[in-house]
Every structure is written in C-alpha cells, then in structure tokens.
C-alpha cells in the first residue's frame, strides 16, 4: 500500500493526478480523508506553484468610504488592497523574522540608533517609473510629517531624521530601537512614487498586481503586473476583492464557489463550514486579543486590589469555549502571548477564583455600588455575551457588575479610551516593544488603561536598546508580570484568525501577524 501511495504522490507532484482522483484512490487504499488531504497538499506543494487563474476574495471589513491611500487603512479590505498593489521595505515572515521586500538588506549600527536599508534596484512602479531612494524617503515623510494623518504616525514618532543616499535609505532614531525593521514592516508604509504626495489614493505602487477597478465598498479588481521585481510573487492573472460584510452571505459565497477565500468565519459556524467537502477552515493563533480595560487613574479602578478582584473574577476558559467556541486561547492579563518572539512561558497563568476575587474585593474597601462596564457588539464579536458571563462570575464573588450597552456607532470615539471601564480589542503587533509602546507607555496616545508607571517605561527603553536577546527576554518577562499584576487590562482571551479557503487553492501558510496569511495569499498561493 505504501509503495502505491508514494507512487501516487509522485504523480501529483508531476501534475498527473488531480485532487479528486488522488482523494478517490487514497480512500480506496483505506487512507482517511484528512490524511489524504494532507498528503495531497504536501505533494502538490512539492510540484511548485502553477500560474494563472482569477482569484476571488470575499472579505468583511470594507466600506463605501474606503480610499486606496495607505495612510487611511484601518480595516480588512483596505489592508488587503494595499498588499495587492504595494510593497513595504520589509515584511514580517510567518516565522517572525524580517523578510526583505523593497529593501534587499537592513543593517543597524552597534547602538541600534542608525538603520540603513539597502534598496533593491530596478524596481518598477505601475506607472512605469523606476523606484528611487527619494520615493522611499518621501513616502516615509508623508507618514510622519506634521500634516500626517497616517495610521502609522504613532510608530514613526521615534525618528529623528531620515535621508536618501544613492541606493540607501537611512533612518536615525532619537532613542535606540533594536526592533526598527519591524516598525518599517507596517502595512501602511507602502512605497509610492514621489511618496504619494501628489495623489495618495491613486493606488500606484510596486506590488504584484495593479489596480483595474476601484469601487469602494463593492469590489476592487487587480490584474497581474508583468514587471514585478519578484517573478515568484503573484501566481494569478487577476485578483478580485469583493466586499461581503454579511457573515452568512460570505460563507454562502464560499460554499457555492463564487469566492475562493473568506475572512472572519464566525466561530459558531466554523465547525459546520469545515465539513463542506470543497473547502478548509484554517484557524491561526495570532496576537490579537479581546480585553476589558480599566483606567488605572480613575476611581474606583485606581485601587489595585479592586483591579485584582476583577481579574480573578473572570472565567477565561469559559469565555474561550463560549464566545470563541474554542477558536482561541486564554489570556493572562497581559497583551503578550506565545505568538510573540521573546515570550516567557514561565509566567504563571491567572486562574478564575471566587475566593481570591472576594478576598481582593474585600481588601479594596469598595462601597458595593455597581461597577459599570460599557460594552457594544462592535467592541469585539461576542462582547456583550462575554460581559454577561463576566457579570455572572463576578456576582459569585459578590462584585456588583452592571453592564451598560452602548451603540456600535460612535463607540471608538465616545466610549473607548474615554470611559473608565469598557470592552475593546487589540490587533496585536509583530514585536513586544511595539505592543507595549503603543498602549502601555505612560505617554502613549492609546494608553487606554492609563497605565503610567515610570519604572515600566524605563524597562521598555532599556529593552529596546538591548541587543542581547536573553537579557531582553528577561526584561520583557518582568514587564509582562508588571502589567499582569498592576495593570488595568483584563485580558481573557486571544482570538484566532478563522478563515475559509477553497481546496482549489494550494500553498497555505499559517501567519500570526495579520489575517489571511498577513495579506500574502495572492502572492504565495496558487490554483491546483
């Protein structure tokens, strides 16, 4: 039997056997469907990518108000758009290392303050122009200058100066930062001709596909760009991004074969959907997490005993089972999990404990008036249910939690980062430094827990400048414990990216950075 199977996989690799034929023959040999499917994928991968075909995405997270201007990207569809027509200088690879894109190599000075990107030569924009270091410089300036309204503005803050020097682009920082290449991998930082100063929404970049149709909120069509610098990227003739915000419509489109991949499969239908014969549901552990956030500087949450009481009063496993239906992992009241490099797995897991919650609640001396938790469905999928579960477990410990439901509309401007106790989510960042500097540094704009501890800030800067990974890991571990024990974040769970992909597509890779293989499906996958 083994010989026969080996022979069959060889045939697949040689392109002589289709998936259907392979599955049929494998079943005849008594191989389970799951096993055969894995073997086929392995064999097909060995055959190498095939070119051609029209790839169709059905994605949640697009609005009629979207623009192709990379500075404005804040949801899934614009994120995918950028990945089709644009390239960053570098990309975070699935294994968490830095992969060169428009920069061939990156080099940091010994003190991690000056970073030089050696740019790839002969890269062509879709308008026929050749990319120069000036284009790179202007792009970065547009995202960081005084007039900038870019989503990347926050991460560009530590830059003292930038210069274009022949084939090189050089960044000088005010403070050392060993993680600078990760910041430059941000999806907003797509290199545009002349930095996109003139017409940022034109959708002209260096990516493997060029814009053909741009109908925001409806669809975006791209055709293969023949002169892309890397012929291995982009196996399809065209890519169509169809905006399907309705979850049921999205899964129906995938099941009936009208699209080849969808994002945000609802956990409650994921198991059912996965049983369909023509598709696979991929669940990827990421760095995104759902949180309840308390302002550490506002009563009653300025009392750490009360914060600890609430942290002990939530049943994390129950939330993962009921809200995420198992498509996620439990959190530990810090924004970091094993998906991050330099994570310390030895930090003890906080468990649900009625006794401890009651004990801390008693110590806090809280007057017993209701503690108001503001939530909206838009805070994260299932936020209202999660809050209700939290309310019940808190009540067991005698903590009176009152849920105040807010409208989705205006939630991010009126409630989040304004009210002292509410539900929210974080998409996660490629490295710990970025996550902590975005939301836990005293001076951060998005310090949504008002966590202001000078010792923590000091350790953050110290870790940033440290090039010895063992020492960094140690510092990050201490920082994580500090947030876990003193911070204002209750982090019950890390959510997986749950995506549905047609079996016609080959070349899937799990990528924890962002959803849909970090936006690289159209570059790396192919039709079998």
């Amino acid at each position: 039997m083994n010989e026969q199977l080996t022979h069959m996989t060889k045939q697949v690799t040689a392109g002589k056997l289709t998936r259907r034929e392979f599955m049929g023959k494998a079943a005849a040999l008594g191989v389970s469907a799951a096993m055969a499917s894995t073997m086929f994928a392995g064999a097909a991968r060995a055959a190498g990518p095939k070119k051609g075909g029209d790839l169709k995405f059905g994605l949640q997270g697009g609005e009629s108000t979207n623009s192709l201007d990379p500075a404005t990207y804040a949801s899934s569809v614009p994120f995918q758009n950028g990945k089709q027509f644009g390239d960053q200088l570098v990309e975070v690879a699935p294994d968490g290392t830095i992969e060169p894109r428009l920069a061939e190599s990156v080099e940091g000075s010994a003190d991690a303050k000056v970073w030089t990107f050696k740019l790839r030569q002969g890269v062509e924009f879709h308008n026929g122009k050749t990319m120069t270091s000036e284009d790179v410089l202007k792009t970065m300036e547009r995202h960081s200058n005084e007039d900038s309204k870019s989503g990347a503005l926050g991460i560009m803050k530590g830059i003292e100066s930038m210069k274009a020097d022949g084939d090189n682009f050089q960044v000088t920082l005010t403070e050392p930062n060993a993680d600078l290449p990760y910041l430059m991998a941000d999806y907003h930082l797509i290199v545009q001709p002349d930095g996109g100063m003139e017409d940022p929404g034109a959708g002209i970049g260096t990516g493997p596909y060029q814009v053909e149709v741009n109908e925001p909120g409806v669809r975006h069509v791209y055709k293969k760009f023949a002169n892309h610098w890397n012929p291995d990227f982009g196996n399809f003739d065209s890519v169509e991004v169809i905006v399907i915000n309705d979850a049921t419509a999205r899964t129906a489109a995938l099941q009936s074969g009208q699209v080849h991949a969808v994002n945000r499969v609802e956990p409650k239908v994921a198991d059912l959907l996965g049983r369909a014969p023509n598709l696979t549901v991929h669940s990827t552990a990421g760095r995104g997490h759902y949180v309840f956030i308390m302002h550490c500087d506002t009563a009653p949450f300025d009392n750490n005993e009360l914060r600890l009481a609430l942290k002990h009063a939530i049943n994390r496993q129950d939330l993962v089972d009921k809200v995420l239906r198992g498509y996620g992992t439990i959190g530990n009241d810090m924004p970091i999990n094993a998906a991050y490099p330099l994570f310390d797995g030895s930090i003890p897991q906080r468990e649900f404990s009625v006794e401890k919650a009651a004990e801390h609640y008693k110590k806090s001396g809280h007057d017993g008036s209701p503690i108001i938790l503001q939530v909206a469905d838009g805070a994260f999928p299932g936020a209202v249910d999660a809050a209700a579960l939290f309310q019940q477990t808190a009540a067991q410990a005698g903590i009176p939690l009152e849920i105040k439901r807010e409208p989705n509309d205006g939630y991010w401007s009126e409630v989040w980062n304004v009210q002292p106790f509410c539900a929210s989510y974080w998409g996660g960042r490629p490295v710990q430094d970025q996550m902590y500097s975005t939301a836990y540094l005293s001076t951060a704009d998005w310090n949504d827990t008002r966590f202001k501890v000078p010792a923590f800030d000091e350790m953050l800067f110290q870790a940033r400048a440290e090039l010895d990974n063992d020492k960094r890991k140690d510092i990050y571990s201490q920082m994580g414990q500090m947030v876990r024990n003193e911070g204002g974040v209750i982090c019950p769970m890390f959510n997986d990216f749950v995506e549905g992909v047609s079996n016609q597509l080959e070349g899937w890779e799990s990528d924890p950075t962002q959803e849909m293989m970090n936006g690289n499906m159209s570059r790396k996958m192919w039709f079998s």
Partner: protein, 318 residues
C-alpha cells in the same frame, strides 16, 4: 392654463421646497450624531495629532452653517461635491449606485406590479373561495417573514445546494443585460414577495368595495362575464387607490431595500448611505438623502396626477 399643468407646476414647486427642508433636516440630524468624519475614519487608531490634521483637511473646522450653505451653493449648480472620506466624486459614485438600485427596483416592479394586480383581480373573481384564500394566505405569509430570512433560505437552497443562481448579486458595467438579470434574479424575487401582498390586498379591497355599486349590477345583468365586469367596469374606478399603493411600494423598492442589498451583496444606494452615515460623511449622506426624498416626492406626485387624470370629476373641476 390647463388645470393639470397648473397642478403639476404647483406640485413641482412644493416638491423643491420639501427637498430643501429635507436636506436641512438631514444635515441637522447628521451633525447631531456623536463624533465626526475624522474620528469615524481614524476609529480606534485616532491620535489627537492625526485627528487635528484630518479635520483641517476635511474642512470640518469651519462652522456647520457655512458648510451647509457651501454644499447648498454647490448643489444648486449641480455639483454634489466630493466625499470627505475617500475623495471620490459623489456624482460618479451615486450615479452607479443609483443606476443599480433603479435596475433592481425596476426588475422587481415589472414582475410584482402586474402580478399583484392580476392576483387581486383573481381574488375578487373567486372571492371567499379557495383561490382567494390561497392567494391571501401565500402573499400574507411572505410579507410577514422578514426579508433577510427569505433571502437566506433562498441562498441556502437555490445557490448553495442547487447552484442555480448566484448568491452574490454583483452587477457591473461590463455585464450584458442578460447577465445582469441573471445576477439580480434572487434579490428581485425576494423583493417581489415583500411588496406583493400590500398591492394585491389593496386591489382586492378597492374592487370589492365597488362591486356593491348599482352600475356593476347593471353590467352583470346585461350578461357580461364576471371577469369582464371586474376588468372593464370596476377596475378603472379603482385605479386611484391602487396607484397610490403601487407608488408607495415602488418608493419602498428604491429607498428601503438595504437589508436585501446586504444579504445579496448588491451594490445599491442603501449600503452606500449606511456606510456614509457610519463614517459621518455628511456630503454623501446629504446627496443620498436628497435623491431618496426626490424619488419619494416624485412618485407620490405621479400617484396624485394619475388619480386626477383617472377621475373625470377631478379632471373637470367646476
């Protein structure tokens, strides 16, 4: 001046005034919503610096009245302006979306209006017998089920299980009329089911009302078949209430179908308006609002004129 021309011009003037009032109301209400376009666009990733820069660029720092009159000044010259959020020309975007909405509405109307009236006549012909009861039962059932549920059920059976029709009603300029009709088949069917009942019941009620009249008896006595009596003598006199309810349903087909658009991913006006409201894109909200108001006012005007033309007493006032 002919009384009908006079009436139409009066109604047109009144309609314009109404449009102006509607736009002021929409502007005021959109302004009253919490947050503004800059906050909505940046969402969770808003920093004070980026917010300030974006407000400056969108011109949101100017007083509300100035912005409204700027917009009004533009629209009088036929300029709908540019979207605050994606800088695209509103007239262009709305043109496509409105075209799609009207296409879907027309397909649904072409099927549903004659069908509803025919079923209404049929129900009168066989009143209180099984065809009447069957027609009423079916149409009242379909109008009572929420349209998204009918939509999902159709998608599940007809496109996922049977694969006959596409669950995505995506239409675009490069498609032929046949392809477009095929694409909108399911949403048009759902809309037909939704609007059928009211028109059918109104036709039935209006005609039944007349069937008691003396002239109907006369027509019956002179030996006309029941259906001829209904179609030739009762129906012309029932046109006025029927046209009114037909126009209301047509207006609904244009302005009220956002749920069906979402279920079938149809690129119409409803979704466009909802997105614009969420992002506080005031010029787009205003433009959509005015278009919807114009459709409503226009169709109601048509209903009034038809009622007058159909009624000799109103056509020749003393």
């Amino acid at each position: 001046m002919h009384p009908i021309i006079k009436l139409v011009s009066q109604r047109l003037a009144l309609g314009l005034l109404l449009l102006f009032g509607a736009s002021a109301l929409i502007f005021g209400l959109t302004e009253a919503l919490p947050g503004d376009a800059a906050q909505a666009v940046l969402g969770q990733s808003a920093t004070p610096e980026a917010l300030a820069n974006l407000r400056e660029e969108m011109g949101l720092n100017r007083p509300a009245l100035t912005r409204y009159f700027d917009w009004l000044g533009g629209i009088v010259q036929g300029d709908l302006g540019k979207s605050l959020t994606n800088k695209l020309d509103i007239a262009d975007s709305i043109g496509k979306r409105l075209g799609n909405t009207l296409f879907l509405a027309s397909v649904a109307a072409i099927v549903s209006v004659p069908l509803a009236i025919f079923l209404g006549l049929l129900a009168v012909r066989f009143r209180n017998r099984w065809p009447d009861k069957l027609i009423s039962a079916i149409t009242l059932t379909t109008v009572s089920i929420p349209e998204f549920l009918i939509g999902y059920v159709l998608v599940y059976f007809i496109s996922v299980k049977l694969g006959w029709f596409s669950s995505l009603a995506m239409v675009n300029d490069s498609m032929s009329i046949g392809q477009k009709l095929y694409a909108v088949a399911l949403p048009a069917f759902v809309l037909t089911l939704v609007v059928l009942a009211q028109m059918m019941r109104m036709t039935r009620a209006a005609i039944l009302n007349l069937m008691q009249s003396a002239y109907i008896e006369t027509a019956e006595l002179k030996g006309l078949s029941t259906f001829q009596v209904i179609a030739r003598h009762a129906f012309p006199n029932a046109i006025s209430p029927i046209v009114n309810v037909v126009m209301l349903n047509l207006a609904y087909l244009v302005v009220g179908v956002v749920v069906v658009e979402v279920v079938f991913v149809y690129p119409g006006m409803g979704q466009y308006l909802v997105d614009a409201v969420t992002k506080r894109d005031v010029p787009v909200v205003l433009a959509c609002g005015v278009v919807f108001a114009a459709v409503y006012i226009g169709l109601n005007m048509v209903a009034d004129i038809v009622s007058i033309v159909a009624n000799p007493r109103l056509r020749h006032p003393k």
